[in-house]
C-alpha cells in the first residue's frame, strides 16, 4: 500500500506537487498519468526520499520510506534507468544494491535471468542500449522482492516484445497481491495494463478512479455508421446539434445522436446499414479531454487530426 497525504513540493515560486492525496492499493496495476511537467516524477521522487516534500507525507506500507528497515525489500523503484555507473557491470551493479539488505549473488543471477540480461551481465552498464538499461532498472526494482513496485515509464525504449513482457509482468505482480504504481505517457499501453488510474495535472489530482469509470466519464455520444447508402443517410441525419465526420465514402461518425435514433432514421427511409457502433472514447481521448486545462505545454497540432489521418 502506498499512501500520499497532502504531499506537496515547491521549488521557489513553482508548486510542482500541490497537496495531493492518493492511496494506491495492492492487487491491481495503478496507472499514473499526466502531461509532461505535471508532477509525476516529483511525486515518485518524494516517495523514495530523493526529494524532500515541502509538506505532507508519503507512506509505504504505513511508514515513511526513509525510515524503512529493509528499503529495497519494501519498495522497488525504477525512476531513471540511466542512474547507473557506466563503468560497472550490470551484475556488480545489482550485487551492490542487493548487498544493502543482504541479498546475494543467487538472487541477482535470478533477476538477470528474469529480465533477460544473463548474457550481458558482466558487460559494463555504459555499453547498454536504452532497452537493456530499462531491463536492468526493472531488475533492480524487483531485486528485493518488494511489496510495493513503483516504475516511472518502464516501457521506455523497449521493443514490442519487451513491452508485452512488461505488461504481463506488471499484471502478474499485481495478481500476486503487490502494489503496482506505474507511470507512462503511452496511453494505449496504459489502457491495456492498468485497472486503476491516478491522473495528475499541474501538480493536482484530476482523477483517481478505475480505468472503466475514467473512460466512461469522458465518452462522447459518438456512433460509427457504415452503409452503402452513406451519402443519402448523412443527408437524413443532418440537423442542429449533430456533427458528422467521414473518413471513407461508405462510413461516417455521428456525434449527437445515439445508435437507436440513427437506426430508426435508416429504417424509416429504407437505407441499408452494414454497421452501427457506439464508440467509446479511448484512454487517450478521455485523458485529453480531462487534462485539457492542465497541460503545461500545448502543441500547435491538433492531435485528433493526426489520429484520423492515420
Amino acid at each position: 500500500m502506498l499512501e500520499l497525504r497532502e504531499l506537496t513540493k515547491r521549488y521557489g515560486d513553482v508548486t510542482a506537487v500541490d497537496h495531493i492525496n492518493v492511496t494506491v492499493r495492492p492487487g491491481v496495476v495503478t496507472g499514473f498519468l499526466g502531461p509532461n511537467g505535471a508532477g509525476k516524477s516529483t511525486t515518485m521522487r518524494m516517495v523514495l526520499g530523493l526529494d524532500r516534500p515541502t509538506s505532507g507525507v508519503a507512506l509505504v506500507n504505513g511508514r515513511d520510506y526513509t525510515e524503512s528497515q529493509a528499503p529495497i525489500a519494501e519498495l522497488g523503484a525504477l525512476l531513471d534507468a540511466k542512474a547507473v555507473d557506466k563503468g560497472r557491470s550490470a551484475r556488480n551493479h545489482l550485487l551492490a544494491l542487493g548487498a544493502t539488505v543482504g541479498i546475494g549473488a543467487r538472487r541477482v543471477d535470478e533477476l538477470l535471468e528474469l529480465v533477460g540480461l544473463t548474457e550481458v551481465a558482466r558487460k559494463s552498464a555504459g555499453s547498454f542500449s536504452l532497452g537493456m538499461g530499462q531491463r536492468l532498472g526493472i531488475a533492480s526494482a524487483l531485486l528485493g522482492d518488494p511489496e510495493v513496485v513503483m516504475l516511472d515509464e518502464p516501457v521506455n525504449g523497449l521493443d514490442p516484445d519487451g513491452i508485452l513482457w512488461i505488461r504481463t509482468l506488471l499484471k502478474q505482480l499485481a495478481a500476486e497481491g503487490r502494489t503496482v504504481f506505474v507511470s507512462s505517457h503511452l496511453m494505449s499501453e496504459m489502457e491495456v495494463t492498468a485497472e486503476h488510474l491516478v491522473v495528475i495535472g499541474r501538480g493536482r489530482i484530476i482523477a483517481d478512479m478505475s480505468m472503466a469509470e475514467f473512460i466512461g466519464r469522458a465518452s462522447t455520444n459518438k456512433v460509427r455508421v457504415t452503409s452503402p447508402d452513406a451519402f443519402e443517410l448523412r443527408g437524413r441525419l443532418v440537423r442542429d446539434g449533430v456533427t458528422i465526420t467521414s473518413d471513407a465514402p461508405d462510413r461516417f461518425v455521428v456525434d449527437g445522436l445515439d445508435a437507436a435514433e440513427i437506426g430508426e432514421v435508416a429504417a424509416a427511409h429504407g437505407v441499408r446499414l452494414h454497421e452501427l457502433t457506439r464508440l467509446d472514447a479511448s484512454l487517450e481521448e478521455a485523458f485529453m479531454e480531462l487534462t485539457r486545462d492542465a497541460v503545461e505545454y500545448h502543441g500547435t497540432t491538433e492531435i485528433h487530426d493526426d489520429r484520423k489521418a492515420a
Binding site: L50, D85, G102
Partner: protein, 284 residues
C-alpha cells in the same frame, strides 16, 4: 501460471520469489559492504590505488638513491642536504597526496556525475549511512595500500641510505615512528577530506581543483603574500597542520606534532560533518 508467453519471447515473466528464510534487512555493515562492492568493481579504483602505492615507494627509493649518489658525485642532481633521512625516504608522500586527493574526491563525487546516487539513495534512504559507508569503504581500501607503501618506502629507502653509508634513521630514533605513522594518517585523513569535498561539490573536477588548490597553493601563496604575523593562523591550515606530525624536521612556523594532529583531525571531522549536513539536506 495463467499468463501466456510467446515462444520467441526472450524473457520470462516468472517472478521468482526471494528465499523467504532470510528476511532482508538493512544494517550499517551491509551498507558499508555495498559501498565496498561499488568501489571494488570500478577499474579506476584499483588503478589509482596502484598509483598511490607506486608513487609512495618509487619516489622514496629514487630520492634515497639520488641523494646518496649526489653526495658522491659532488652536487650533481637535486640537493637533499637540508632534508632529514626520514623526510627524504617519505618524500613520495608529497606527490602521493595528490593522487589520494583525486581518489577521495572521485569516491565522493562520482555517483553525482553518473546519476548513480539516485539508485544509491533509493536503496539506502538514510543519507548518513551512505556517507558513512562510502568513507569506511574508502578508508578500508586505502589504508592497507598506504600503510604498506609508506613502510616499504621507509625501510627500503633507509636500507639504500645505510648501504651507501649515508645518514639514515632507525625506527626507534626519536620522532621517526611518529613521522612515518603521521604520514600514513595524513594521507588517509586527506583522502577522507577529499570524499567529503566530493560529496559537497558533487563534481570530480571541482573537488580536485578545490582540494589541490587549497592544499598546495593556498598555504604557499598565503605565506608569500601575507605579513609574517599571519603565520600564527596559517599553521592551522590542514596541510600545515599535517606537516607538523608527518615530518620529522621541527619548524618554528608549525604547530607541535600533538597539536597539529588534533587540528588536522578537526579538519577531517569538520569536512565529514559538512558533507553529512549538506548531503542530508539536498535533493538528489
Amino acid at each position: 501460471m495463467s499468463t501466456t508467453i510467446t515462444s520467441d519471447s526472450t524473457t520470462s515473466t516468472e517472478v521468482a520469489r526471494r528465499d523467504a528464510s532470510a528476511a532482508p534487512r538493512m544494517t550499517t555493515g551491509r551498507v558499508m559492504r555495498s559501498e565496498w562492492i561499488k568501489q571494488r568493481t570500478l577499474r579506476t579504483t584499483g588503478l589509482t590505488l596502484a598509483g598511490i602505492f607506486t608513487s609512495l615507494v618509487a619516489f622514496g627509493l629514487i630520492a634515497a638513491q639520488v641523494s646518496t649518489s649526489s653526495t658522491t658525485t659532488n652536487g650533481q642532481g637535486p640537493d637533499f642536504s637540508g632534508s632529514s633521512p626520514v623526510d627524504l625516504v617519505l618524500s613520495g608522500a608529497n606527490f602521493t597526496v595528490l593522487i589520494v586527493a583525486v581518489l577521495g574526491v572521485m569516491v565522493g563525487a562520482r555517483e553525482f556525475s553518473s546519476g548513480m546516487i539516485r539508485s544509491t539513495v533509493a536503496a539506502v534512504p538514510s543519507r548518513t549511512s551512505v556517507l558513512l559507508g562510502k568513507v569506511t569503504a574508502f578508508v578500508g581500501s586505502l589504508t592497507p595500500v598506504v600503510v604498506v607503501g609508506t613502510l616499504a618506502a621507509f625501510f627500503g629507502g633507509t636500507a639504500i641510505l645505510s648501504h651507501a653509508g649515508a645518514a639514515s634513521a632507525g625506527w626507534y630514533d626519536a620522532g621517526v615512528a611518529r613521522a612515518v605513522l603521521g604520514t600514513i594518517a595524513y594521507l588517509i585523513g586527506l583522502g577522507v577530506i577529499g570524499v567529503s569535498l566530493g560529496m559537497v561539490l558533487r563534481s570530480i573536477a571541482g573537488g580536485v581543483a578545490t582540494l589541490i588548490g587549497g592544499l598546495l597553493f593556498v598555504p604557499t601563496l598565503a605565506s608569500a603574500l601575507l605579513p609574517s604575523s599571519w603565520e600564527a593562523v596559517l599553521k592551522y591550515l590542514p596541510s600545515n597542520a599535517g606537516m607538523s606530525f608527518s615530518s620529522i624536521t621541527p619548524s618554528p612556523d608549525l604547530l607541535s606534532a600533538g597539536a597539529g594532529g588534533l587540528v588536522f583531525a578537526g579538519w577531517v571531522a569538520l569536512s565529514l560533518v559538512l558533507a553529512a549536513v549538506v548531503f542530508r539536506r539536498r535533493d538528489v
